[in-house]
């Protein structure tokens, strides 16, 4: 696959937090990439580091969080020469000019809770305008027209009136549409959606997902969607990264992950999801045990304690990524070359 087909490459990213005297390794060597115009879903239980990975890409970490290792590369068009170039996002100063030009313009983000993500004291229109005028030279009048057009596209009725209203006059689903409008107004090359539907009613969830898909189709945006919901993954993903305890344990296309899950964790995850046509007496599987504390120090595979296929060796050394012939990647001793149980 040609190099420019990738829009974002995250390689062995490590983000640690200082909490008191302890160091929490929230993201501990995460590798994934996003293809142009495609959707990557990052799935995992809460606390597995999926959100922190996304925030690391944008360098939107809290002050006690720091990228300590690895790289984040963004492929982007140089605004002057028009040539493609690679920017190392992890090396840019956190709130420096370059990083700020990327935020909102190249990469935009929508968050989990639309209720609290909009500033209550400004009209929604002005909050969208803020992003637009921050990155583009455009008059207020033209900007307003452009925003109203986008609001209409996002299915907001009476956009001319809604433009001048305040967030508290909107419902949750409508607020999330406004968040999408803020994110999409500058036509970003990539959109990161951090659990965009978790806080919404089920009926609204589907609408918001449809809108994200529509935006992606019409604007050619690449999407990273973070979720813990396998149903959403099945619906929207092109590729899937499964995370556990700060690491990507399995990475592959939607088809690979759903029809041929390799990692025991992914398998367990798939079994715990209800599917249509399940028999009445068929029980949903649960994953034994609970997620370890984030500050636990491991000497081997983090999942070993809960894994039904674990061997004594599993807790003694860290597994390495194994790439299958079809590009399907898994981080498990069982699949490492030379392992007696290695299947393919």
């Amino acid at each position: 696959m040609a190099e420019q087909d990738y829009i974002l490459k995250v390689n062995d990213l490590k983000t640690y937090f200082k909490v008191g005297k302890k160091t929490v390794r929230a993201v501990n060597g995460v590798t994934f990439d996003v293809k142009r115009g495609k959707t990557l879903c990052i799935v995992g239980e809460s606390g597995c580091g999926k959100s922190v990975s996304a925030h690391s890409v944008m360098q939107l970490l809290p002050v006690n969080g720091k990228i300590v290792d690895g790289s984040v590369e963004l492929m982007t068009k140089d605004p002057e020469t028009g040539e493609m170039r690679t920017i190392r996002l992890d090396q840019l100063p956190r709130s420096g000019k370059e990083m700020r030009q990327i935020r909102g313009k190249e990469i935009a983000m929508i968050f989990q809770d639309p209720m609290s993500s909009l500033n209550p004291v400004y009209t929604v229109g002005s909050q969208i305008m803020e992003n637009l005028r921050n990155h583009e030279k455009i008059s207020r009048k033209e900007g307003r027209e452009k925003i109203i057009k986008l609001l209409a596209e996002l299915g907001i009725p009476n956009p001319e009136i809604r433009y001048d209203q305040y967030p508290h006059e909107f419902s949750g689903g409508m607020k999330q549409r406004i968040m999408i409008a803020i994110a999409m107004i500058c036509n970003p090359t990539m959109l990161i959606a951090d659990e965009p539907t978790t806080a919404l009613d089920v009926t609204i969830q589907a609408q918001i997902l449809d809108l994200i898909r529509k935006m992606q189709r019409e604007h050619g945006t690449s999407v990273i969607l973070i979720t813990h919901n396998m149903g959403i993954v099945a619906e929207i993903a092109d590729e899937v990264a499964v995370m556990y305890m700060g690491r990507v344990v399995e990475f592959g296309t939607l088809k690979q992950i759903f029809t041929n899950p390799l990692h025991p964790y992914t398998k367990a995850l798939m079994r715990s999801v209800p599917v249509l046509g399940m028999k009445k007496d068929e029980e949903l599987a649960t994953i034994e045990g609970s997620t370890p504390d984030a500050s636990t120090v491991f000497n081997g595979c983090e999942f070993a304690d809960r894994c039904e296929f674990a061997t004594p060796e599993c807790s003694k050394r860290f597994p390495v990524d194994t790439v299958m012939e079809d590009g399907h990647r898994v981080r498990c001793l069982l699949f490492e070359e030379g392992h007696p149980n290695a299947e393919s």
Partner: protein, 320 residues
């Protein structure tokens, strides 16, 4: 917005009436002849019993309570608050001479104190956990812990007695110009003393509110737009932090107005505080009552202004 302002102003009316009613009832319950308070005590002393009765009849002092209240309210609106037995003046005239000074002092203290307190709190929150933050926080803790008249005495000694930069007290130079800029140097020390508590309290509160607001999700949204840090902090953080801070300003206004009694006493500043203190020593209760009620009305008006400012900051309040 205009609707909100109008509503707030209309809401003032019953409160002001309640204040006036309390004042009236309290005055009415005072022992002694109400006529002494309704007319110049000097004239009263020269009247015969018969004439006194005629005066009572003419002034409506024998009428039922509601009628007397309305009469009295009418007099107040004309500036006649009754007569002081100790100074033999109409309390309305006494107030006219003193109240503006106290209002001037209180308002300046509130405005300057709020500005500095909020500014220092903002700086402390931006430089969280640095030496600047610790220094400002320490100052504010000391500021709320030491009685303000103690600061007053220290300022008096330092700036007026030792350095001789500012006058030790009073209101204006005898025979000097009376315009604002000439009077201002008499107000500097009282304002400093008066506003220290407000500065310290607001600093602490602004700092903690700012830190709280900067953790909100919409701050992350603002950052994700690629705005400059200063814009994020000020436009998105500060503006929201101001809303709860304004409630503290509101709560502190009565304390400032009441504190003026002490500060006026330290600096010999001829406001209503000193006036009612003198009246109190002379046993002239009506003066104290009227001053308290007028100060309450002033506090109410000042709080309403702060409420309106809060509504300008917060659309949710404006529209509710």
């Amino acid at each position: 917005m205009l609707k909100y302002v109008l509503r707030k102003l209309v809401a003032l009316i019953p409160k002001l009436l309640a204040i006036s009613l309390i004042l009236f009832v309290m005055m009415d319950l005072l022992p002694g002849d109400p006529l002494t308070r309704a007319m110049n005590p000097d004239t009263y002393g020269q009247l015969t019993e018969e004439l006194k009765e005629q005066y009572r009849e003419a002034m409506g002092l024998n009428k039922p309570l509601p009628v007397r209240y309305l009469n009295w309210l009418g007099n107040i609106l004309k500036g006649d608050f009754g007569w002081s037995t100790s100074t033999k003046q109409n309390i309305g005239n006494m107030l006219a001479g003193r109240f503006p000074y106290t209002v001037e002092l209180s308002l300046m203290s509130v405005v300057i104190g709020s500005f500095l307190g909020i500014l220092f709190g903002y700086i402390a929150s931006i430089f969280k956990n640095t030496i600047i933050d610790y220094g400002l926080t320490l100052c504010s803790v000391i500021g709320v812990s030491v009685p303000n008249f103690f600061f007053g005495i220290v300022f008096l000694l330092a700036f007026a007695v030792k350095l001789k930069w500012l006058p030790t007290g009073g209101r204006m130079e005898v025979g000097g110009a009376t315009d604002f800029f000439h009077r201002f140097k008499f107000m500097i020390l009282p304002i400093m003393t008066q506003s220290i508590g407000l500065i310290a309290a607001l600093m602490r509160y602004t700092r903690s509110t700012m830190l709280d607001v900067l953790n909100r999700d919409y701050i992350k949204t603002a950052r994700s737009k690629g705005l400059r840090e200063a814009t994020v902090n000020f436009k998105h953080g500060f503006r929201n932090a101001m809303i709860p801070v304004m409630t503290i300003v509101c709560m502190r206004i009565p304390m400032i107005v009441g504190g003026s009694v002490v500060v006026e006493s330290v600096f010999n500043y001829p406001g209503t505080g000193q006036m009612s203190l003198t009246a109190l020593t002379a046993g002239d209760i009506p003066v104290v009552m009227v001053t308290t009620m007028v100060s309450a009305a002033f506090t109410l008006a000042a709080s309403t202004i702060v409420d309106i400012v809060t509504a300008m900051l917060d659309p949710r309040i404006r529209m509710e």
